[in-house]
């Protein structure tokens, strides 16, 4: 058993797809978000978690503040160059499988801060699964992003690493 390789033990057979379905169903109903909230989008996230646009309806109720317990990283707000190593470290410390939502224009592409101090999109340092546009995005847009992640879960094999070949600006 070669445990150091990144492939899982069982091959692609009928049995694994059934196993996949069960695992996917368990994962999508209880995504635990880690809110990396920096700026205005964090206030909109707080409004999404409040009682009107309840994010708990989608299973993402338990907001964990340690990356070791979380599986969904929501980057809400501008990431400056000073903050970038912090984001990378937090992403690296999350256990597999992990998803990333880039909430807002600043996290997706730097927003309208095209200057010496803003990271032009967090996909320079972490692999992003869903981008949410808006400045700040409405809570319904964020809920749509969570639903997209849930849909994404179903179509991927459950037991394989998700972004094995991602290179950030720190690795290159």
């Amino acid at each position: 058993m070669d445990l150091s390789s990144d492939e899982h033990l069982l091959g692609d057979s009928i049995i694994t797809t059934k196993v996949d379905a069960v695992i996917d169903w368990g994962r999508q109903s209880s995504l635990w978000p880690f809110v990396f909230g920096t700026a205005c989008c964090a206030i909109e996230f707080m409004a999404t978690a409040a009682s009107r646009y309840d994010i708990a309806r989608f299973g993402a109720e338990v907001l964990r503040f340690s990356p070791r317990h979380a599986d969904l990283l929501v980057v809400a707000g501008t990431v400056s160059m000073k903050q970038a190593p912090i984001l990378k470290q937090i992403y690296d410390q999350m256990p597999e499988p992990r998803w990333v939502i880039s909430m807002g224009a600043c996290a997706s592409s730097g927003g309208f801060y095209d200057n010496y101090t803003t990271l032009q999109g967090i996909d320079e340092i972490v692999p992003v699964d869903v981008y949410v546009a808006g400045c700040p995005p409405r809570p319904e847009a964020l809920l749509d992003a969570v639903m997209q992640i849930q849909k994404m879960l179903w179509s991927e094999p459950a037991l394989e690493p998700r972004h094995p070949n991602f290179k950030s600006i720190y690795d290159a």
Partner: protein
């Protein structure tokens, strides 16, 4: 075997088999990607932690822990007594209240000493 003991031993047997099975299942079947950063200490995102984690702690934390332990053991004694209260009768009731009263005396002593204050 008495009815209760049989149920308890079945529960223990299931747990002893199931929990290690789940842990090992995720370890062998799940996807892994190890990088050297993953096993570092979580320090709100700051790398390169400095210093030894094995410095001495303040004694107040220990005191609070010990006091909790004592009262927890007291509760351990109260629980089976509460289950069998009817068969023990009035004598059992008074006996347990004497026990709780003695421990409460200890609590008042600790309070007066100032162990419960944090600063």
């Amino acid at each position: 075997m008495p009815h209760n003991l049989l149920l308890a031993s079945i529960l223990v047997a299931i747990l002893v088999i199931m929990l290690p099975a789940i842990f090992h299942l995720t370890r062998y079947i799940g996807a892994k990607s190890d990088n050297e950063r993953k096993n570092e200490v979580y320090e709100s995102g700051i790398r390169d932690t400095i210093g030894d984690p094995f410095n001495s702690f303040n004694v107040k934390y220990f005191l609070v822990g010990i006091v909790f332990l004592l009262f927890d053991v007291e509760i351990l004694y109260i629980l089976p007594w509460a289950v069998e209260l009817k068969t023990l009768g009035v004598f059992g009731l008074i006996e347990m209240f004497v026990f709780i009263g003695l421990i409460t005396g200890g609590l008042i002593y600790i309070f007066r000493l100032g162990v419960m204050k944090w600063i």
